[in-house]
Symmetry: C2
Subunit: 153 residues, 2 copies
Amino acid sequence: METRAATPSLEQYLREHIPLSAAMEVSVVSARPDGVTLSAPLAPNLNHRSTAFGGSVNALATLAGWSIVHLRVRGSGHVARTVIQEGSTSYLRPIHAAFEATVLPIEEDRWERFLRMLVKKGRARIDIPVRVTSAGEEVATFRGRFVVLMGEG
Amino acid sequence: METRAATPSLEQYLREHIPLSAAMEVSVVSARPDGVTLSAPLAPNLNHRSTAFGGSVNALATLAGWSIVHLRVRGSGHVARTVIQEGSTSYLRPIHAAFEATVLPIEEDRWERFLRMLVKKGRARIDIPVRVTSAGEEVATFRGRFVVLMGEG
């Protein structure tokens, strides 16, 4: 039920506030505080080799990482701003079809420490691992460090 | 003169072959085998905070890195394919205006070793450092590892 509630609103939010996500035709496959998967079709994200452009792959993974931190923080009742501090992508193989970015499981302990730090210091950071797949195969991995600052919506 | 010759064709090439670069409104400020600067306006690259989206920043830097490798290899008379293997971006501060990605100087020795390896092995890789600036200030740094494979245009 949470998925149904969160999915359209996150997709609408991304497309309205981040024009590149509309240009990439990003859709939200699932969006819950314990897991986010975003998807993008190949056509608007092509490169010169008719495979997916690395910039699009990284952008989809960045949006997935941002989304789960945003949903976690909002789900905890906090008003805060989430920004990316660092992001690294390994491109494993050419992508010939639509691709999906899925946030990998993060231990509840880590979320709890992160939220405690946020409340205590007004600022906390967390590393989010993301796997990108296409046609059932792992095609890229991403790791993003996100910083959350309290009180800035 | 090389700049004049290379600039329009690279911009046209990027926009025609990589739709996201058109959506981002990427323009080529300069494009020579010894230096590439690409620029993007803020509007199509906004995030939810009305600053530049990290995915756009990384994508512009990726395109700058790809472009210099492409120009170097082509300028050496080789027919080869350039792909990104890894990319890392550090986001230093919010970006409130148009932003530029400039490839940092790379020693001629490194280019020579890279091209020798490409001829010898049919495959070579090189790390390309890129600085992103906006309104005269450094706003992000990027490092990309590109792999070039001979004979695939």
